[in-house]
């Protein structure tokens, strides 16, 4: 019972702080809008895939990106919390490390999903047409990204003691995850070597599932997309929990 109350407290703190940091919300919504308007609009005037406007084509990918960026940086932010003695206050609470991890993770997921939700609504201004089914599937996959990637961020962040490695994570984790996910281009006709990398990226299946539900063009069956995403999410939760157990306070 006390673990559950603690869990609620951790989640409540994250959401409350997030909602008060208006600038963070604004910037995280403006970023994907720039992708849609500038990149999607610009490149879209020259190309189109599978008979649909490029802007619409990349919309699921941009949704995924928004949640990806918010989630991973939320997770990595724990380094800052640790530096400021802030997290020590949490760490001396009589709560298990698993509770700390899950509370933090759920808080980050909520933040990311709120941003994803705002973008979903804004999508209607870009001519995206939703069915109830599509919205349900989109939210499901966004939840997968949020849980999986927040866990990755927390796992990495909990093992770091300074911001030194941030650039490396940006270059070697965040960017490859995004650009090698088929968020911006179709998978058909990719060179073999690229295809291997893209198929090894769990986010590929998430983008594919969302695109299938929204636009009706998918490379893999929905069951496969959901299945692989679930495995990804489960493994990352496990990894995050383990990382939190090993985390040192200094």
């Amino acid at each position: 019972m006390s673990e559950l109350t603690g869990l609620y407290a951790l989640w409540y703190r994250e959401v409350k702080v997030f909602l008060r940091e208006r600038s963070r919300i604004v910037s995280s919504v403006v970023n994907p809008l720039i992708w849609l308007v500038a990149f999607g609009g610009g490149l879209g005037s020259a190309i189109s895939f599978e008979g649909m406007a490029y802007q619409s084509y990349i919309f699921p990918g941009v949704l995924m990106m928004t949640v990806l960026f918010t989630s991973i940086f939320f997770g990595l932010y724990i380094v800052w919390d640790k530096k400021l003695d802030f997290f020590k206050e949490v760490m001396i609470a009589p709560l298990s490390r698993t509770t700390l991890f899950v509370g933090k993770m759920l808080g980050g997921c909520t933040d990311a999903l709120i941003q994803g939700g705002i973008l979903l609504v804004l999508g209607t201004f870009f001519g995206v047409q939703y069915t109830a089914y599509a919205v349900a599937i989109l939210v499901l996959f966004l939840l997968f990204v949020a849980i999986g990637i927040t866990s990755v961020g927390l796992a990495i962040g909990s093992q770091m003691s300074s911001f030194e490695g941030f650039g490396l994570i940006q270059s070697f984790v965040v960017m490859p995850l995004f650009f090698l996910s088929g968020a911006l281009y179709p998978l058909k006709g990719l060179p073999d070597w690229l295809m291997i990398v893209v198929r090894a990226n769990p986010l590929t299946y998430i983008v594919d599932g969302m695109r299938g539900a929204l636009l009706g063009t998918a490379n893999f069956p929905l069951v496969e997309d959901v299945g692989i995403s679930l495995v990804f999410v489960a493994v990352m939760i496990g990894l995050g929990t383990l990382a939190f157990r090993r985390m040192s306070a200094i």
Binding site: L10, R13, K83, L84, F86, K88, I92, P94, A249, I250
Partner: protein, 319 residues
């Protein structure tokens, strides 16, 4: 014995931060760990608070072993950290409410306790304002309130008045004293402020390079040195003669000033001055813990101003 350590040690890669420290602290005591920055005070406190594991030795807090029963230890303690650890986007009330949830304060007691501690630290009127708008002293008081919220038997205070103005500092000392006296809370405090240790603590352990180099009540520690100190500016001090006087326990020249510790003052002061030579400035005062530290280690406890957040950041990232 509410806190007991036996040869507790923490070795990092290239330094031994805490080196076989054995202490026992009684219930209701205000116990001070005094030493310069980097002496190992915070590391020792962190081990007792179960934040880091000792590499050697054991410690019991409220009867529970810090490595074997960290959960029970955490339920017995409250802690106020060196750096601000309240959330400045949240209000004072919200910060306390979250703490109450995390530390298992029963639902029907939460509100009552929050009001109680807010009143104790005089923040009741500002409870619904964001911590961002608080002054440094108010933040510190809020953190003190938070440390007390779940009624811990033991309170760890890591440099509780670091960087605060003298008035606020005295204010906080009052709270701490009241807590120990009325609330029967055992308080373990780290500080590098001599006056703080002197004013507040029943007993002080002077720590340098991870070791306890002296442990006693502040007055006993000072008495070891003598009863009074003479500081004088003398052009050509006759040090040999001064040192040979039987009641002089210590004499040295530093930065052109003569420092003399007298085992007994009284009529001897006149005699010292007569033998000293031509003095242009004389000051007489009681010994301080700084003098004790100086005698034990040959150096002063630096009393530099509070570290900035940035400096602290550098310090932590250097580990």
């Amino acid at each position: 014995m509410i806190i007991e350590t036996k040869g507790i040690t923490k070795a990092f890669k290239n330094l031994v931060a805490v080196d076989h420290i054995s202490l026992s602290i009684d219930e209701g005591e205000i116990f001070g760990l005094l030493g310069p920055n980097g002496a190992g005070k915070t590391t020792l406190l962190s081990m007792l608070a179960t934040l880091i594991k000792p590499t050697e030795g054991t410690a019991k807090v409220n009867g529970y072993d810090v490595t074997k029963e960290p959960g029970k230890v955490r339920k017995s303690i409250g802690m106020v950290f060196q750096a601000p650890s309240s959330d400045d986007l949240l209000t004072g009330w919200e910060n306390l409410y979250l703490h109450a949830l995390m530390f298992g304060v029963p639902p029907d007691k939460r509100k009552e306790r929050i009001v109680e501690v807010l009143k104790l630290v005089d923040l009741y009127d500002r409870a619904n304002e964001r911590v961002k708008t608080y002054s440094g002293g108010m933040r510190r008081r809020l953190e003190l309130a938070r440390g007390l919220l779940h009624k811990p038997k033991i309170l760890f205070l890591d440099e509780p008045t670091l960087g605060l103005d003298p008035q606020t500092r005295e204010h906080i000392w009052e709270y701490i004293e009241r807590l120990a006296k009325e609330g029967k809370v055992t308080i373990l405090i780290t500080t590098h402020y001599m006056e703080e240790a002197d004013m507040l603590c029943d007993r002080v352990a002077i720590i340098d390079h991870g070791k306890v180099i002296a442990l006693d009540s502040p007055s006993n520690l000072k008495r070891r040195l003598g009863t009074s100190m003479i500081k004088a500016k003398v052009r050509q001090p006759n040090m040999d003669l001064i040192k040979s006087l039987p009641y002089v326990s210590r004499a040295e020249v530093k930065d052109g000033e003569v420092m003399i510790a007298l085992a007994e003052a009284g009529s001897h002061v006149q005699e010292v001055l007569c033998n000293l030579g031509e003095a242009s400035f004389v000051e007489m005062r009681e010994p301080t813990l700084n003098d004790v530290f100086l005698q034990l280690t040959g150096k002063e406890i630096r009393t530099e101003s509070a570290e900035t957040l940035e400096q602290r950041y550098m310090q932590v990232s250097g580990r």
